[in-house]
Structure formats: structure tokens, C-alpha cells
Subunit: 347 residues, 2 copies
């Protein structure tokens, strides 16, 4: 442990810490085209670019095995990495899977986990090329690295948006977050022994659970954009919440933005659930994480084309940076967008 | 958790578990040339092959912060991954570093860790292209992925040894293991409050500590072999102990072997320490892990060339599989080689 000065990590936060640690890294190899700061690293090879992304998931922080079946956890662990590759406009090709396992787990548990990983891999035609298991003194740790490909000049970074671009999202937002809330409520009911024994009732809420437990990486959106000859100017996937991700695109592209509250796509079940929980629906959709939808910008000239694509909604537009990063509410007010997204280091 | 049958992981062990989970994986993408089962995965690209290796290191299993400074830990975490790439006859080019950090750690700790990673990267001209920090409820978890390159047909697998090949190792063996023993002894002294307060005395044992705390990946050996136009027929790095690794080469290459006890390279300090600890020196050299030396085979016709290279020693030869995998002792007896290497899942 460090002797002398001790600065708590919370003073910088997760993004701040990474920036602090990596800000003066100079890339030495000509093949290392892009390093820290996007959904994946980009390596340059003749004719192709190779994308690399990696995730480290810890029990008790990133997942709760009380309500997450191991098969779903395997599926989701793979999917969130595929999502990072799609978010660069690439195609995932290989993954490696490392697990640190405590004595609580048996072989059948790990088989279940792998079954989920393999199912996700089959759906996305990804090969498992490396695997490692080791022991852990506490809980489960999962490390997945995904390698993808893209043709030269196909890759979309976070920093390419122009101040007149349209801002688009796929699917709908906030559902995974509501699924998590629902799970947490049932867990509390289940664990509160003094209360009546209430059977979990998920009827009519299946979509929320599925969105949380079994997210799907949006390969279909990447394909739809290619088929429509639309090349996003910037893109990332929504893992920490829409607000947080929009702010990333703005700061990396040096733009401002206007997001229109009424245009944020929200599923009916999400809306019902927010009311039941007495939560502000827009706040859920802006700050709920783990939807793994794609957020991207396209040139204004693609307006016509993009409006014809299913499951893609234009929610606002970029602006010059001095106009700020704003949410335009239903009643026409402008509020500054703030990232209150899920951040494990702030928890 | 799994309901129904519960099979303890110890019944398969680490290697058995990975084999069990990955044995029927079929690679789907033409670029995925080689998957699970070697030091690194191999991806095929025009003109080049890309190597990928990954490690997940857990506090309390893979390292003990009582005697491992974080800077050394960072250095070692990077080095062991470079070592895996060299063990494929490749050159490491990029790494990604993910950390899960508990509240015990402060920013200065993580800076120390990164300083070690960066020092290792500078020495081996490797770029840090990805980084991720997240929180952990207990302890530190480190996940490092390293990407390397090799020209077409340059890669050396574990399965290419022929039954007349010579078996060679670089450097010397058992020193890292003795360094660990020394550290464990000092830790016990330090923690045993009832005992006298003995100051740690590492004089004359610096080499052992350095081998354990600051291993060096053997890029120099890879370069020396290239310069001498020697292409190993099989190769791996020694992380779990010589016995264990020789058996891997034999089983993947379907050969037997003869290892000569008297030819195993051992440093003077290792020998002194083994005597002080009253341990069998050959057992330490055969089974002590974490030396990160290279173990490889070369054709018999390279005998002359290999004998002229510094820091490489021929310790035996491959044989036909029916002749068994044997250690020939100093007094001429033949004992069956057994892997008693360090295996976290057996601990």
C-alpha cells in the first residue's frame, strides 16, 4: 500500500481515474491506431482494422447471483462486449473468457455460464478462442476480451460528430433499469423474512426482465445502417445511461446538443413500471444504464434516409459547443443535461 | 446456483475444467486459426498473424500485497503476458489493463501499479491501448490482455515437437519459487507477534527476490534464436514449473521425453536457499513456478548451433511416446516425471 499521500479514488471517479492514468500515454507502434478513450482499441493491419475491447465484471458490483441465472450472466457478459465492437461499426469475431471462481461454485455452474456465452457467440458468429479459469477467495470475477474487425475507414469513433448532425438512438431506453428495480424489489421481499411470503409476480413485466437479464447487441442496426448507406459520424453503445453517453459524444466531438424529451423512445412496460415505483420516467430513460442500445450521430443530409429505418429514432441534434448540452422538456424548457448514470466507483 | 447435481471443481482441476468447457468448440470464422490450448490464440490476417493472450489475477490467489509492492505487481502482470506472446515466437505489441479496486486502495496505489505496467511496456515497446477501472467489494483483481504479432508460419505451437528433438530451457529454474518461500517466511516472522522481532535479512538473496517480484519476459532468447536461424518445433513459457510444462509439450506433441537432472540449470543462490530450507533442490527446480523462462524443442540437427547460444541449456530430448516421460537422476535412475506444479484450483 502507498505510504504518504493518500487520495481517495472517489475524488476522480471511474472516468477521471482512467483519464488520469492514461492521459500521457504515447502510442509507439504504428499498428496501434487508437488507444484508450473509445468503446474499443483500434489496431491497423494491411487491408483491415482490428478492434479490441475488454470487460472485467465482479460479483457484488456488476451482477447479483441472487437474481441472475449463470446462463444469463454468461450470455450478457459476451453480449456487452459484442456491443462495444458494434459501437465502433465493427463486427465481433473472437472472444476470450477468463473466470475466477470461488469454492461456492461447482462444475455445473460454470457449464451453465459457458452455455450462455456459447449461445451469444452462436447468434453473432463469434469464436471462443481463449479460456482460463482460476480460483478466487471470494465470489466470481469474469474477464472477457472481444476482438472484432472492420474494413479500412469503416470505423466510427466517438469524436466525429459535427455541430449540425442529428442524434439517433436504437430501440427504447430505461427498460433494463426498470428490470433491475423490479429484481431488487423482489429480492428485498424474498429476503425480508418478517414480511408475508409474497410470490414474485412478473406477469406483464417480462420485457423489463428480459432487457435486464438478456440484453441483445444491436448487430441488426449496424447492418441496417450499412444497407441504407448511412455512415454515422460518431457512435457508442448505451451502457451507463443516455445522458452520460450523449455527454461523451459531445465532449469528444467538441459540440453542444439539444435532446428533446418527447422524442426519447420508451416502452409501455417501462412507463407503467416507473409509475408503479413512483419514479420520473424521463429520469429513468436518461440515466438508467445497461440498455446496450446504440447512440449515434448522422449528417443532417441523411434525415430522410434515417427516418425510414425501423427501431431508430432521432432524439435531437448536435449544436455549436457554446450553446451548451441541453434537454428540451415537453413544456419547452431547457435544462442542462447531467450524467447521473450508473458508475460503480461512485456507488 | 445450480440445482440438482453438484460436481466439485477440484474433481477436474484447472486444466481439466478448461478442456471440459472448451473441448467441443468449433471455430467458425476463417480468421480464427487457433483457439484454446496454447499460450495465446492465433488469428489469421493477410500477411500477418495476430496473437491474443489474457490473464486474470486475483488478490489472495495470485499475489499477496503484504510483500508485493504495487509497482512490481504492475510490472509482473504485464511481463507474464508478454511472456505468453514470446512463447508463441511472436512479438507483443499492445495490452489492455482492467482493474477492479476495493476502497482500501487510493489513487497513489493505482498510479504505482500503472507505473510498473508502463515500465514493462517501455522495455518491450508495447502500447497500452485500453484501460478500465471498476470497483470490487473485496481486494484487487487485474485483467490484462496482450496482443502480439508474428509473420506467417513463424508461430511456434506446443504441439510441433518430434520424437528426436532436443529439449532446451533459457536462464535458470526454481529461483522465483525460492524467492516466494523467502517472502512467506519473512511474512510469518513479521506476523508472529509472540516471536522475537527479527529484521528481514535478504542480503545475498537479492536474485531470488528479484526473480519472484520482477520477472523478465525472454525477448532476448526469441531474438537470439532468430539470429541463429533456429526455429523451435514447440515452445511454451514456464509459469507452472518445468515438469508440468514438459508434460504439456509431450502430450500435445504426442511424444515421450528424457530430462536429465544434472542438466537442469539452477542458480547458486537457489541452491543455497534450498539447503537452508531443507528442501530438495531438484524438486524446487522441477516444480517451482513463475520463472517465466522459455521451454522449447529444436531439431537434433540444431545441436551445434544451440550449444553456442548463451543462457540456453539443453536438458534432455524427446522420445517416442511409448518410452514414457522420464527424469534421469544423477545416479542414473529413471523416475516418471510428475506435474506437482502450482495450480491455483488445487490449492
Amino acid at each position: 500500500m502507498h505510504e504518504g499521500t493518500r487520495t481517495e479514488i472517489s475524488t476522480l471517479g471511474e472516468f477521471g481515474l482512467i483519464r488520469h492514468l492514461t492521459q500521457d500515454i504515447k502510442l509507439q507502434n504504428p499498428e496501434s491506431r487508437y488507444g484508450v478513450g473509445d468503446d474499443a482499441a483500434v489496431l491497423d493491419y494491411p487491408d483491415k482494422q482490428v478492434l479490441v475491447t475488454t470487460d472485467l465484471l465482479m460479483e457484488g458490483v456488476h451482477f447479483d447471483l441472487v437474481y441472475t441465472p449463470l446462463k444469463h450472466l454468461g450470455y450478457k457478459s459476451a453480449m456487452v462486449n459484442f456491443s462495444d465492437i458494434y459501437a465502433m461499426n465493427g463486427i465481433p469475431k473472437q472472444i476470450t473468457v477468463s473466470l475466477a471462481i470461488s469454492k461456492r461454485f461447482c462444475i455445473e455452474d460454470i457449464e451453465d455460464f459457458y452455455e450462455g456465452v456459447r449461445l451469444a457467440c452462436q447468434l453473432h458468429h463469434v469464436d471462443i478462442v481463449g479460456g482460463d479459469t482460476t480460483s478466487s477467495v471470494t465470489g466470481l470475477a469474469i474477464s472477457i476480451t472481444c476482438i472484432g474487425e472492420a474494413g479500412k475507414d469503416q470505423i466510427v469513433y466517438r469524436n466525429g460528430a459535427k455541430d449540425t448532425d442529428l442524434i439517433c438512438v436504437s430501440g427504447d431506453l430505461g427498460a433494463a433499469y426498470m428490470g433491475l428495480q423490479l429484481m431488487e424489489r423482489e429480492k428485498a421481499v424474498f429476503q425480508g423474512e418478517s414480511q408475508e411470503n409474497i410470490q414474485p409476480d412478473f406477469a406483464g413485466k417480462e420485457y423489463l426482465l428480459e432487457r435486464f437479464l438478456k440484453p441483445e447487441a444491436r448487430k441488426d442496426i449496424i447492418e441496417a445502417l450499412r444497407n441504407a448507406h448511412i455512415r454515422p459520424t460518431s457512435m457508442m453503445d448505451i451502457s451507463d445511461g443516455l445522458s452520460s453517453e450523449v455527454l461523451h459524444l459531445c465532449s469528444q466531438s467538441q459540440t453542444g446538443c439539444r435532446i428533446y424529451e418527447e422524442r426519447i423512445p420508451i416502452d409501455y412496460q417501462t412507463a407503467v413500471m416507473a409509475e408503479e415505483f413512483n419514479m420520473n420516467l424521463t429520469t429513468c430513460a436518461l440515466n438508467g444504464g445497461e440498455d446496450y442500445e446504440l447512440l449515434f450521430t448522422v449528417p443532417l443530409t441523411d434525415h430522410e434516409k434515417i427516418s425510414q429505418l425501423k427501431e431508430i429514432k432521432t432524439i435531437g441534434h448536435m449544436t455549436r459547443p457554446e450553446l451548451g448540452r441541453m434537454l428540451v422538456t415537453r413544456d419547452g424548457n431547457e435544462l442542462e443535461l447531467k450524467a447521473q448514470g450508473w458508475n460503480p466507483l461512485h456507488e
